[in-house]
Symmetry: C2
DNA sequence: GTCTATAGCTTGATAGAC
DNA sequence: GTCTATCAAGCTATAGAC
């Protein structure tokens, strides 16, 4: 870990990331963070200004790394299959692989970061604005790739399927331990390799089932729920 | 609405539900709640005791109603198809219909409640314990029904697929407005009928794709990611 | 059931010495 | 860059009058 050698600025970011992930923005005090980081409270203001600005710094630090990796994986898949679009499975894999990989093998900092993302993504105030700011530029590239791979599909179908993907993925990061308890230990929410081999086929099948030209051709009226 | 006629106890619950949904447990003060409810702060302690107990009361109030409705829908589907299991689509519909219906047509209180559920489900501390307490007894009945409808499937596949369902569903309740922004207004996160007609086939296709006897028969080794 | 008053503590933020 | 000291504001919770 060699956490000892880090400077105070990084230690504050690490501590903030960890505490925000545990108890959220409001559940975490600057004093919690300072104590966890082993620095004085006033140092936080000195380096980052207000609490909200510290939060933004935490969000930004790893987002850039992730987005670069994910974009590279998408482009690699596109090159492999050019001039055809890649199969859905490979697009979904490019979208999720870097995230699950970092979460599994990146150490505690990455784990905390993803747990924080899960909370933010499901927060009514921040879910829209923050996720949009840090991640949606890349999301558009994936939506373009999916659109190419699902010819003739309806735009709204596509967006909603992305929404389901986002929800399934971020709950996985939340590491709430719920599935562990539910399955009586059979599933381990920290074993993200187990997730990955199921998430990709699950989501791919969903996209293929919903994003069809047939559904796109249906009249504006909704299909009607069962009952 | 006839909110005027409600007694103070209910008004406190309504206000707490709304404020907790907006800013979470720690982001909401008892004074916020009292102000929103139009009552004195001390009344909260009188009726509910500590802040945490108020939170529990909020969670419990609607959980019981929902679970009863969902169980009835599941049993109705099972009766319709007896002695065979119902199709996956009908099981998923029974799982989600009451939730989406209340969220759409139940008024602001229900909407807030579900937004709160989304946050709780993705919270590292409470996601496991709270959701387990209030909802998992019913979840087991749905898992039993799914197991019957997916003969020969692997247990871990089943649990993970349920996890994906839970994530996709709760993000929908969060009503973050992210998909609205992402789709430039094409999708409306408040129109849960739009969700419902896509969620059920999306999730059903995922279950059918992952929970197969073929996958269950694979060796313990994982399938190996792309790359 | 409802309200006033207040105890006792923690919070975010900053001013200023070193 | 770092720390001490401090402030005004807000917090939960309760005791006690009505």
């Amino acid at each position: 870990m060699k956490a000892e050698r880090k400077n105070n600025r990084e230690r504050i970011l690490d501590a903030a990331e960890r505490q925000f992930a545990k108890l959220g923005f409001f559940g975490t005090s600057l004093r919690d963070i300072a104590r966890t980081a082993g620095v004085d409270v006033a140092l936080i203001s000195y380096h980052f200004g207000k609490k909200q600005e510290l939060f933004d710094a935490v969000m930004l630090r790893r987002a850039e790394i992730l987005n670069a990796e994910r974009q590279q994986m998408l482009e690699a898949a596109q090159r492999r299959h050019a001039p055809n679009p890649p199969p859905i499975e490979e697009i979904i894999d490019a979208f999720t692989h870097a995230l699950l990989n970092r979460s599994t093998k990146g150490g505690e900092g990455w784990r905390s970061y993803f747990a924080l993302i899960a909370q933010v993504n499901n927060h009514p105030q921040w879910g829209g604005a923050v996720m949009n700011q840090y991640f949606d530029p890349l999301v558009y590239k994936f939506l373009d790739a999916l659109r190419d791979a699902l010819p003739g599909c309806d735009e709204r179908d596509l967006f909603w399927c992305y929404h389901f993907l986002s929800g399934a993925l971020t709950l996985t990061f939340a590491e709430t331990g719920r599935i562990d308890k539910l399955s009586d230990g059979l599933c381990n929410s920290e074993d993200l390799d187990d997730v990955h081999e199921r998430l990709v086929p699950f989501i791919s099948a969903g996209f293929k089932s919903v994003c069809t030209p047939e559904r796109a051709a249906r009249p504006g009226a909704r299909r009607g729920g069962r009952r």
